[in-house]
């Protein structure tokens, strides 16, 4: 168990004349025993952060602390990877192809010169826990992907690390076994109670495992906090997108019926409430902003007679069904709005024929408003905006 802290960490690759900043000014903290998630788009710098934690890469500036002790700072590694007592599961598992699975799992213990009988005991305990006992005598190349991943997890855990790092541990697994792999990692982590950090670009991994998450956007700490806060109150469009699907619609703010309203395309009008500061910033410049709404926060109503709870739902006008597709008991619907180029994705419990006209409601508390640079207008205190109270 260990606490990890990044203080203003920066990382650049390449030589002097062709230097490339990959991470800049990044600070966050992972507390004891936490299962911490790191998410971000491809190339955002997730692996780089993880490798700095592992000690495989040094920070160009800033410092990294383990339990308040500096392990690397300003281009120097003070405690090298082999002394950090870390277990790591690599994206492709990086198993030793020439060793049996048993020897793979035993390797960290051999490096520590643990006596043979202790090694056998430990390996067999872990193999039993992760249900790979029968594969121990074979080599990694001869077992399935799911089994390889479990061997990699066993190897990472065999030396009782104080920190477990997982880099996209599920991305090479078949969709069918992903969930069982996730729950396995979760069980093992909570059973052993060690601090763990999981890197993934797939929100499914993060939701399944991480209670706290750092979202990296373009090499910066986009937002760090509770995973659900990142989802429901993202700082920016980049964060909102990294952690889940979101529909983004350009809108202009106009006054309709004496109230502020975001006008989407030609016909759809969404009442909004803007803070004083947000309004004045809009007054001075152009009046456009971006409305963000997640698929599950859109409700489709086919029958105009249907009652919708106005305390929770905002009418957002009509739309046309473009296409319905199916996945896991849910129909995925693409909606087309008049005069809007981007389609709106949402779900429905039943099939809707293409071309059908529907009315659309947005969940009031989950409409997000972003300014043109992509920042959440509600998240910046000076320009707080909350959806209109009907």
């Amino acid at each position: 168990m260990v606490k990890i802290e990044f203080r203003k960490v920066g990382k650049a690759f390449g030589k002097k004349n062709r230097k490339k900043d990959v991470i800049s000014d990044m600070s966050f903290e992972v507390s004891h025993g936490d299962m911490y998630g790191i998410i971000g788009a491809s190339g955002a710098g997730k692996t780089t952060v993880l490798r700095m934690i592992a000690g495989l890469e040094e920070p160009t500036s800033g410092s990294i602390l383990f339990d308040n002790k500096v392990v690397a700072e300003n281009g120097r590694i003070l405690v090298p990877a082999e002394e950090r007592n870390i277990g790591m599961v690599f994206q492709n598992w990086a198993l030793y192809p020439h060793m049996s699975n048993f020897e793979n799992i035993a390797f960290p213990l051999r490096a520590k010169r643990v006596p043979n009988d202790k090694i056998r005991e430990k390996v067999e305990y872990l193999a039993n826990l992760l249900d790979i006992t029968e594969t121990l005598r074979r080599r990694p190349g001869l077992i399935s992907g799911g089994q390889q991943q479990r061997v990699a997890v066993c190897r990472a855990l065999s030396k009782d690390p104080s920190l477990l790092l997982l880099d996209e541990p599920f991305s090479n697994l078949d969709a069918t076994i992903k969930d069982s792999a996730r729950s396995l990692v979760r069980t093992v982590q909570s059973e052993l109670g060690i601090t763990a950090i999981i890197v993934s670009h797939d929100p499914a991994d993060i939701f399944a495992l991480a209670s706290n998450t750092l979202c990296i956007t373009g090499g910066k700490s986009g937002q760090a906090g509770k995973t659900s806060d990142l989802y429901h109150a993202p700082n920016s469009i980049d964060v909102a997108r990294s952690i889940g699907e979101i529909n983004l619609l350009r809108a202009t703010v106009e006054v309709r019926n004496g109230r502020d309203a975001a006008v989407l395309g030609e016909e759809n009008i969404l009442p909004v409430t803007l803070s004083q500061a947000a309004r004045s910033s809009l007054d001075s410049g152009d009046r456009s902003l971006i409305v963000g709404i997640r698929p599950e926060d859109i409700r489709i109503v086919e029958d105009s007679q249907e009652q919708v709870d106005a305390r929770r739902w905002l009418a957002a006008g009509n739309a046309t069904v473009k296409i319905s597709s199916y996945s896991a008991g849910i129909f995925r619907i693409l909606l087309r709005l008049h005069g809007v180029e981007t389609d709106l994705a949402t779900t429905s419990e039943h099939f809707l024929p293409p071309g059908q006209e529907v009315s659309m409601f947005f969940r009031k508390d989950d409409v997000k408003l972003f300014d043109n640079s992509g920042y959440n207008l509600a998240a910046t205190p000076a320009a707080a905006a909350v959806p209109h109270q009907a």
Binding site: A81, E82, P97, P108, A111, R155
Partner: protein
Amino acid sequence: MTRFRLVSSITAGRLYTIGKYAVLVFIALIWLLPVYSMVINSLKTAAGVLTTPVLQPSGISFHALKVVAAAMERPIFNSFVVVLPVAVISTFVGGMAAYYLYRVQSYFNDVMFTVVAIATFIPYQITLVPLTRMLAQMGIFNTYQGLIFAFLIFYLPTGALLMSIFLAVLPKRTIEAARIDGAGDWLIYRKIVWPLVIPGSISTFMFIVVESWNNFFIPLILTSTPQMRTTSVAVLYYSGGFGTLYNESFAAALMSSILPLIIIVVLGRYFIKGFLALGTGSKG
């Protein structure tokens, strides 16, 4: 009409194939002339030497081979004493250097890499005077240690260069995984790197065995007594000239080349791979 064309094009193709192999076989025969002449001539009697030209066989006698074998026994033994440690050390220790260059990349290491390449490729003969002096000062002139030492100056860098190329195929992640697992460099080198580059190290080893076995110049200048001569130098004394019968020349040549020839026939792939690696960095 069409049928006729088809037939004629098939014969043209067949003619081409036959022609292709005819040319190949012809060139191969020229290439094999020295081996052929080594075999037939080292089996000739003195009378055969006087009555037949070099390319014409005459009878089979092991006399010349026996005579030369007696004289070459010691040089062949010397060659083994020198070549085996040189090849083992160059491969294993050169591999360690290769592992370092693989692990740590810096401008300084680019310089070291260049030095290693220069050591592999320069006309090493030009170091004769300072090298002889150095060995004399160290008191190892005309000794096995001296020969091994001198060979290592050139073949250790060769080993490092070749092993660098073969090491390049190792996935970096595998080495990093081992570091995370708490292994130090020595453990990683022995338990991870070495087992994974075995084909490459066989190539390196074979390449250095053949090259150092054949090295003529270094033992020529660094030995001063017949007892210390290596095989390639001993051949010089059968190079013809006054009163030598050519069956003995060929017998000596055969004896000095038999080991490299066996290596090339049995393990030719590895030897070729060594050259390919040296040239193009190809590891397969």
